[in-house]
Every structure is written in structure tokens, then in C-alpha cells.
Symmetry: C2
Subunit: 105 residues, 2 copies
């Protein structure tokens, strides 16, 4: 059995956010996302065809929803984003990597 | 958006392991499992109808696979257990809660 550690092997180059699939069946995608000071460009929204359950494992982030709600996520915080619920990442920490675990289902 | 923290609200009564669904569509189950000194009874195996991706978020644990492999899991360690791959939990820490995140898919 091949174990890995979610906190290990953080990418050196974080010019862009890094999306790494851990499991991908087509129907279900479990991925690690590594951000550092990234945010979704102003006026751009994620509008996804699947539900997404997401948790922050390291760092800090803020999500904004189209209706205006802002959710600040710290280590261990998780939430479920329903299919087609438009949202953007408005902030991730500049001081350290923010590690997300996302399950698209 | 209703955020929760995976490290919060640990159950007081851990006489039995506690399994808490975070997302359950029927096809996909995301759950938090809280163990403390629990192990699967000797000679008993988990033999599951779905794949399971599992990660330890707090504490420590050991899994044993039917072919004899032993995998020690510390914080952040994750692995994928294929459907019908027989395994048991042979040990979880006595000193603190072990928090698992499991995705059955």
C-alpha cells in the first residue's frame, strides 16, 4: 500500500497554484491544491459541474460567494460548495502555503 | 455557507469509535472517524464494496492488510484502499484521539 503525506513534497514553484489529483475516477476527484497569495481574478467565478467539499489543511484562505457572503477558512475548516454555486478565492496567505483538500463529487 | 472545523466537537464518549458523515450522496460518503485505542477485533476484516481514500488528521494508527503488510499512519499520511481489499485497524493511539478523514467512492 502506497502511503503519501499530504504535507510533504510541496512544490518549489508557486508562480501558479498547483492542483494535484490524488484520486480521479472521472466521477470523483480528490485533489490537493497548493496556493500562496493566489486569488481568483476579480470578476471571475468558479461555476462547477460537480459539488465540491473542501478543507484547509495548512495556511488560511477566504472564499467569496456570488451573493456576497465571505467565508474565512483556517486550518481544519471545511465546507460544502453545491454544484453551480458561484464562488471565488478572494485571498490566500502570503506568508505560507495554503494547502487545500478538495473532493469533487 | 456553513463551515465546520474537523478538529472541533470531538465526542466525549469514545467507548465506541464514532463515525460522522460529512457528505453522503449514496454513491459517495465523506466521513470523519474518531478513534482512541480502538482496533478491529482480531480475525475480523473490513471488506468494502467501495474504494476508500483515507487520511489521518490527528493521532496515529496502524492498518494491516490481509497479505500481511502493515502501514503506520501519522498526521497527514493518506492512502487509497481499493474495493474489497481486506484490511483491519490493528492499533490507534491510546494517548489522544485519532481523527480520520475517509472518502468512500
Amino acid at each position: 500500500m502506497d502511503k503519501q503525506n499530504i504535507f510533504a513534497s510541496l512544490p518549489d514553484d508557486l508562480t501558479l497554484e498547483v492542483f494535484e489529483p490524488l484520486v480521479d475516477t472521472g466521477a470523483v476527484l480528490i485533489e490537493r491544491i497548493v496556493s500562496k497569495a493566489h486569488r481568483t481574478p476579480e470578476g471571475q467565478w468558479y461555476d462547477q459541474d460537480r459539488n465540491e467539499w473542501v478543507m484547509v489543511l495548512k495556511g488560511e484562505a477566504r472564499l467569496v460567494f456570488e451573493e456576497g457572503e465571505v467565508v474565512h477558512l483556517k486550518v481544519g475548516d471545511h465546507l460544502n460548495i453545491p454544484v453551480h454555486c458561484r464562488h471565488r478565492v478572494s485571498w490566500t496567505s502570503e506568508h505560507e502555503e495554503t494547502l487545500w483538500l478538495a473532493v469533487h463529487y
